[in-house]
Amino acid sequence: MTQPTYAPDLVEEAVLLAEPTAPAASAQAFRRERDRIYEIVDDDAREASFRSLHLRWFARLGLHRVIDQVAHQRVDVADRVNVSRVVRALTRQDEGADLVDEATLDAASPTPTLVLRLCPSTLLRPDALCTLLHNELTHVADMLDPAFGYERRLPASEDGPSADNILRDRYRVLWDTTIDGRLTRVGLAGPTERTARWREFASAFAMLGEGCESAFEEWFNRTDPTHAGLVAFALTPPQLANAGKPGRCPLCRFPVASLDARDGGVSPATEAVIRAAHPAWRIELGLCSQCLDLYEARQPSCA
């Protein structure tokens, strides 16, 4: 992997955020230089000067240091990607790494480009940045590892986009669990990450009931996960496999794991509204939570 390139807006914002923590003399020197650039009349020349100034100070303030260190440690990734770009993420949720294919002159050995999306403020928090980078680069390493067998598309469900979303969520939770498990064992993640993953796992695989915790332990401790293994578990967790195919809501026909079972059930007023739209429906047939919400909400407006 060659030296990463940094997006100008990320560089500029990181430098501006780091400026107050710089020694006063440095900050003043930076400001003197920056103020002068405003006087350049030509738009392109002014923009180029701003970029060059911010890039110089980015290096001078050492804001690239953690990324360089982690990239140096991660030979499993460095050897397999072409160049890396670091761009600005607008929110913490957007932070992460992606692999992007680019047409290369040497079609026989195409190597993807690594794109890191980071918030400028994250560059000022070395510990958090280090943890984030290792987590993201482990994802990338899996994607590039033939033994993992990564495939870009998950199997499409016959049950529509909601089932696809569920599968994608479960896959993500499982993959994150194995990654933080591996990072914990080499001392690059800690109890905080483990707790966070357990919370996600417990929510995504609530149907496992009492078996949920042991399943989590198994995935957290797994050393050689594969894409196929993750997909298989996400598609049919053991409990679902035993219970057969999930049913459908008699009203919206969407597949659901279970029909609504909240206390109090369907009120007579709501039942009347449902019957108006679905004359053949009977309360014994049940309905999904979304439909119950919908018809409860419609009920008062018909009053």
Binding site: L17, P20, A24, R31, R34, Y38, T91, R262
Partner: protein, 422 residues
């Protein structure tokens, strides 16, 4: 640091510059009891001033849901917390609210953002206590403000721990905000290049784009977070109070001072904006029949937003009646109880002045009431109500009559087909 007189705090306070007062001051009153968050004001401002590249996150005018929301997110919580940290347990009001123009809300005994900065361990260059909001805090106004998320399966009930709210089952209200064009602007105080100035003719606070070098000290200092940084020009920008309209130089104004775009667009008719005369000591000169003077100093129903910050803001709010008083006292100061009492049972004159809101887009400089006979006497919410057939007449800058409002009985019935025609 020089001291200046802050009549909203009822005392002198430290400010980085000597006091200088404009001849007139841009000021406004928002009646929160009428605001339904239709966001017409927000869009009127956006489509007039901040529709260009680099201004995507800029909302000079916005309406946020209180206490849950804010733009930028948590702006008031954060600055209140900073002040509390700087002066723990002592951000309190003392004295008693009075009738005079000098200390109508008593005396604030805590520290302002200027005073706290002078005492805090901040760099010497920091003249104002503040913070720089993050990208996340700027980028999504109103997201989840009305409908926060909750725990799976738990609906229409508060979280047991009270830490995470499922839905707003409790009270809330809408707070419409623009720049307060403060008498002691924190943005102006913080600017290292003196790029921000207050106009002597109308007190509007402007930011000179040719002088700004993007230090963002104003963004950090403004406690209301109403100056914003624009990445592609590398300068900060702020509300300009639609000054061509206020001056009467906008082509549409025909030479007469007009209210701003956000005021004009308000369909809930919550807004009135004007120019008040400033006395030599910086207080509002007595101007009994200026509607803003009446609402702030006579009827005492309109209160400044977070006066304890110390910038002497020129935006005033008629506080929402249904909101718990401790919250309102924190937000509007100790004048809240009297303001609510007076707005629940409006006096004959207040009822008349409230009829002036949004009947014209011209600035009202004076009003007159021609008293008419009593036409109704009864009660509402257990309080006595008397209505009079008074005529309220609004006058513009040159004394010309802008309009008059009166009540008429019996009701004139129009056919449904022409219900909205003139």
């Amino acid at each position: 640091m020089p001291t200046v007189k802050n009549w909203q705090l009822g005392r002198d306070m430290a400010y980085p510059y000597d006091a200088r007062y404009p001849e007139r001051q841009f000021a406004f009153v928002f009646n929160i009891n009428r605001c339904i968050a239709c966001q017409s004001c927000t869009m009127a401002c956006k489509s007039t001033w901040t529709f260009s590249k680099g201004q995507e996150h800029m909302w000079w005018a916005n309406v946020e849901t209180k206490p849950y929301g804010g733009y930028p997110r948590w702006w008031d919580v954060k600055i209140l917390e900073q002040l509390e940290t700087a002066n723990p347990g002592a951000q309190v009001w003392g004295g008693t609210p009075g009738d005079g123009r000098l200390a109508p809300y008593g005396t604030f005994e805590g520290q302002t953002i200027f005073e706290a900065a002078a005492r805090a361990l901040s760099p010497d260059s920091a003249r104002v206590l503040g913070y720089l909001p993050t990208d996340e805090e700027w980028n999504s106004p109103n997201i989840y403000e009305d409908n926060p998320v909750g725990k799976r399966g738990v609906r229409n009930a508060l979280d047991d721990t009270g830490v995470q709210l499922p839905v707003h089952k409790t009270w809330f209200f809408y707070l419409a905000r623009i720049c307060n064009h403060c008498s002691y602007p924190a943005c102006l105080a913080a600017c290292p290049r003196k790029a921000i100035y207050k106009r002597p003719e109308d007190g509007i606070v402007l930011l000179d784009q040719s002088e700004c070098r993007g230090y963002r000290k104003c963004v950090e200092a403004c406690p209301y977070k109403k100056t914003m940084y624009r990445g592609n020009t590398r300068t900060s920008e702020k509300c300009i109070a639609c000054y061509p309209r206020v001056e009467g130089t906008d082509p549409e104004s025909n030479g007469e001072p007009m209210e701003t775009r956000c005021m004009e667009a308000c369909i809930g008719q919550i807004r009135m904006q004007g120019l008040v005369t400033i006395a030599e000591d910086g207080t509002w000169a007595e101007d009994r029949y200026n509607p803003l003077y009446f609402l702030v100093h006579v009827a005492k129903v309109a209160l400044p937003l977070y006066p304890q910050f110390g910038t002497q803001p020129n935006g005033y709010y008629i506080p929402p009646r249904w909101v718990p008083r401790p919250y309102l006292r924190q937000m509007f100061g100790p004048g809240v109880d009297l303001a609510i009492e007076n707005s629940i049972s409006p006096s004959r004159e207040l009822l008349a002045v409230l009829q002036l809101f949004r009947r014209s887009n011209r600035i009202i400089f004076r009003y007159e009431i021609e008293e008419g006979p009593k036409i109704y006497e009864g009660s509402l919410h257990g309080r006595k109500v008397e209505l009079y057939n008074d005529t309220v007449i609004a006058f513009g800058k040159d004394g010309r009559e802008l309009f008059r409002t009166t009540v008429e009985e019996p009701v004139h019935v129009r056919s449904n087909a022409h219900a909205n025609s003139i």
